[in-house]
């Protein structure tokens, strides 16, 4: 079963208190000295002072913004620094940004406030809170990057306040210096001026005096028309180090005296080590020792290749614990059975069963999606050194503080004595969170690295081979559903019934924006030993495929155009209508296309951002779908950095396209069949469509951007394929389907 903590730790008791009292301020309760003093001790060096939580102003007038999020390439470090710097009217050329150290004082307090104010936590954190450990992480380790929340939560509730409060403190300091009112001062480009007089002082000159004032919790914000940094295409801080090889990723850690570890673990989920004989491999050059783990054996050597070769050659046997009977087929069989049984309410509106009975036409369909691996380009790795009652960790993680807590639990080293060195992440997509769900007892690479480090007298870097990475992921879950809808005489949907497997996060992912009066959306569960975890856009990946494909089916059954059909049902959703309309216009929906090409559409709101996509698709000579162009319309409230915003949407589309076309992890004999990229194919440059992105500046609450581009891709593609072939794709990926004309009805069904 899931992971148990051995003994109550200080953290847990704090969390318990926080939960009971409902008023725990994250990270603050732990420290004796005030939050600000602790920060000063951690990050400030001679002459530097923190003036608010996340900002540091040095005497040379450089403002450093500490961002409590990992940058996986989606640009939050730059975007959040832009938000803070704009509010404080800093000179962008004098702004630097860094990932915050893995100390609770830098935890994401704006997220914490969400919890302490009795509001619900952001989607990603609210999810899967089924282990005590995760609850600890949830309340104490607020550095998680996921749920597209960096800009929405930290930026909006943290950075802007920090920037605006800092500016007020600097102005107060200047006013005191010049013995004038704060209103006599104005701020431009990191300098405070005395209006109408020839007096000025830089932020750097004022920093020490400004630190004497308490930051206001309710500073005055700029209005959007006053923004000078936000909304401009801005180059990211992390890019130069990524073109000259100097950027250091987790896998590049090289602490002095480091050794390397390669694993040989039970391929079957939940399997255990039965026996092994290391005598032969211990004779190999460079092999230092082997470390027994519950799931297998780690081979320690002075070079990763030597460790990996020896691990592969190790004489070893595993006990599968009976899990070798599990396969994708048996899992889907279980899903089908569960879908027939009792279900739990998600949405009940009106009388769906009754309306279905009286409907002029009933439409039914069943959908499925397979497991998906994240396949980040950088395979999982983690370097840990346990020495002198301390533990040091070098890793690229979406959750530095959660990692710290996890390493403390695994090594038995006191939390305060664990130091995390956060390094660059070679991709995250939900994978680099030190949390797994499933039946495996020691489920993550962070755990293994910690256990290994306890047995070795040197820093040890555990590296997963691509095969380890693909076969021991925390997968996007394989799920299924059954759908029914009733249409009235005019083809309007009057009933929508959806039974699906597994209530995942975010909770609203299975819901529809369409005005259907009677809805019954219910779920069942069918637990499996396959570890699961968040995968770019989480439950939206499966539910958008289900719902937006089924909407297309209904439009077809109603004899209506899929675009008009949706627009009519979105009459109360102006933002949805606007993105759909913009995408349609820009794509030229309804206008003639080159011979053999069709359009497919889909729309979805996720992480507070609404995205509509129009895919232009044809079949190639081998009857494989070829996507020529993707036109995206995006309403994320407001765009902070247009340059990274566009890149994020492109990235999310390509990630979704790879999954829709090829993505499939299958289980046979309790283990994953795919091992490396040739079995788990990726879209490459040659297959990349033209991707056009259009933003709507609605001024609404900020939405995320790292994920919302992914969900609409699969249904829009499937809807286009239906138009091309008359074949309704109800199971992904596309590559498992024969789309040749000979395979069944062709074309005419689509008109």
């Amino acid at each position: 079963m899931a992971f148990d903590l051995k003994k109550p730790t200080r953290r847990q008791m704090l969390v318990g208190g926080g939960l009971a009292g409902g008023a725990l301020l994250v990270g603050v309760s732990m420290s004796g000295p005030s939050r600000r003093e602790r920060e000063n001790a951690i990050a400030a060096e001679g002459g530097e002072k923190f003036v608010t939580t996340w900002l540091k102003i040095s005497p040379d007038n450089v403002t450093t913004v500490y961002v409590p999020h990992s940058d996986m390439g989606q640009g939050p470090i730059t975007a959040l620094a832009m938000m803070a710097a704009d509010e404080m009217d800093a000179d962008w050329n004098l702004v630097r940004a860094e990932q915050a150290p893995a100390e609770p004082e830098f935890a994401n307090e704006s997220l914490g406030l969400f919890i302490t104010k009795g509001q619900t936590a952001p989607d990603m954190l609210a999810g899967a809170a089924e282990t005590l450990w995760y609850n600890v992480a949830k309340f104490m380790s607020m550095q998680i990057t996921g749920g597209s929340m960096a800009v929405r939560y930290t930026g909006q509730h943290g950075m802007r306040i920090a920037g605006a409060a800092a500016k007020e403190m600097l102005v107060k300091a200047a006013a005191a210096r010049w013995n004038c009112a704060a209103s006599d001062c104005e701020v431009r480009d990191s300098v405070v001026y005395l209006k109408g007089k020839n007096r000025s002082a830089t932020f750097g000159e004022l920093a020490v005096e400004a630190a004497e004032y308490s930051p206001s919790a309710t500073p005055t914000f700029k209005t959007p028309d006053q923004y000078r940094i936000v909304g401009r295409p801005t180059k990211r801080f992390d890019v130069p180090g990524k073109v000259d090889g100097s950027g250091t990723y987790g896998i590049d850690a090289r602490p002095e005296g480091m050794l390397y570890a390669a694993l040989r673990q039970s391929p079957v989920f939940g399997g255990k080590l039965k026996r092994y004989d290391a005598s032969e491999i211990l004779k190999r050059r460079g092999v230092k020792k082997v470390v027994e783990l519950p799931v297998g054996v780690a081979v320690i050597a002075d070079n990763f290749w030597r460790a990996k070769q020896a691990a592969a050659a190790l004489d070893i046997e595993f006990d599968t614990g009976g899990n070798d009977a599990i396969s994708s087929a048996s899992i889907f069989e279980g899903h089908e059975k569960a879908l027939q049984g009792d279900s739990t309410e998600d949405v009940e509106k009106g009388d769906a069963e009754g309306a279905l009975k009286n409907a002029a036409k009933v439409v039914e369909a069943a959908y499925r999606v397979p497991y998906l691996a994240h396949a980040t380009m950088e395979p999982m790795n983690c370097t840990v050194w346990v020495h002198d009652g301390k533990a040091e960790v070098w890793v690229g993680t979406q959750d530095p503080l959660g990692t710290r807590a996890r390493v403390a639990d695994m090594t038995g080293v006191d939390y305060d004595n664990v130091k995390v060195h956060p390094l660059l992440l070679g991709g995250g997509f939900g994978r680099r969170i030190p949390y797994r769900s499933g039946f495996s007892e020691f489920p993550s690479e962070i755990d293994y690295a910690s256990l290994i480090a306890k047995e070795v007298d040197a820093p040890v870097k555990l590296v997963y081979t691509r095969e380890d990475d693909m076969q021991h992921d925390a997968y996007r879950i394989a799920v299924a559903n059954t759908m029914k809808a009733g249409l009235d005489e005019d083809g309007n949907p009057v009933a929508w019934l959806n039974r699906y497997v597994y209530k995942d996060e975010p909770a609203e992912a299975p819901h529809i924006p369409y005005a259907v009066e009677n809805q019954s959306i219910r779920y069942v569960d069918n637990p499996t030993p396959v570890p699961r975890g968040p995968w770019r856009s989480v439950a939206h990946t499966q539910h958008t495929f289900f719902n937006e494909s089924f909407m297309d089916e209904l439009a077809h059954e109603a004899g209506k155009d899929p675009y008009e059909f949706r627009m009519a049902l979105l009459k109360d959703k102006p933002r949805h209508r606007a993105v759909l309309q913009l995408a349609a216009e820009k794509a030229g929906l309804g206008k003639p296309l080159p011979e053999g090409r069709v359009h497919g559409i889909a729309v979805q709101q996720s992480f507070s951002t609404i995205v509509a996509e129009v895919l232009e698709v044809s079949l190639d000579e081998d009857n494989r779908p070829r996507v020529h162009k993707v036109t995206c319309a995006v309403d994320c409230g407001r765009v902070i950095n247009p340059d990274t915003a566009e890149a994020q949407v492109q990235s999310a589309v390509i990630y979704g396209l790879t999954a829709a076309l090829y993505g499939q992890i299958t289980i046979e004999g309790g283990a994953v069949t795919q091992g490396n990229f040739p079995d788990y194919r990726m879209v490459t440059l040659a297959e990349t469509p033209v991707i056009e992105t259009h933003f709507i500046d609605s001024g609404e609450a900020l939405g995320g951007l790292g994920e919302p581009g992914t969900p609409p891709v699969a249904p829009a593609l499937a809807n286009a394929v239906f138009k091309l072939t008359g074949k309704r794709i109800r199971e992904l990926p596309m590559s498992i389907h024969d789309l040749s004309p000979a395979s069944g009805k062709f074309a005419q069904a689509a008109d």
Binding site: V239, G245, M377, G427, F677, M682, T684
Partner: protein, 154 residues
């Protein structure tokens, strides 16, 4: 048997197994970690370096093959004489276009593109697509293409 080669102009002699892949000799023996490990079977391109000017996937090149050759890695791609702060025009274009996201694939991507452009200074988009089969999980492809167009059609 000791194996000698030049990496980014510097002479190295290694006493390692002949079949150790060049990737691990560079990363673990020489500490040149700019070259990345992605798949180990020549399927992703993350480990691309240039051996005597030719792009090769170093995870699948035995170190003995490189004996006596000149190797260029991402750390050696910069051109100190360039008026772009030491970066090569290609690297500069990568920054201008903000190509990298997580960046992990980009060392291999740049080494592969650099080799392609030496051979074919003005490739068509189709030629780029055929030659650059490196995987980028972040989907930086549209910007890779844009940056290549910038340097080849300037």
């Amino acid at each position: 048997m000791p194996i000698s080669f030049k990496v980014n102009g510097k002479e190295h002699t290694l006493d390692v197994e002949e079949d150790m892949p060049l990737l691990w000799a560079l990363r673990d023996e020489l500490g040149l970690t700019g070259t990345k490990f992605g798949c180990g079977i020549a399927a992703c391109g993350a480990c691309t370096v240039q051996v005597d000017g030719t792009a090769m996937r170093s995870c699948s090149v035995p170190v003995s093959y490189a004996d006596g050759s000149e190797i260029t890695t991402i750390e050696g791609l910069a051109d100190p004489d360039a008026d772009t702060g030491g970066l090569s025009p290609l690297q500069q274009a990568w920054i201008e276009r903000q190509v990298p996201q997580c960046g992990y694939c980009q060392s291999g991507m740049l080494m592969a593109v650099d080799a392609l452009l030496k051979e074919n200074p003005q490739p068509t988009d189709e030629e780029v697509g055929a030659a650059i089969t490196n995987i980028c999980r972040c989907g930086s492809y549209p910007r890779v293409l844009a940056a290549i167009r910038d340097v080849t059609r300037a």
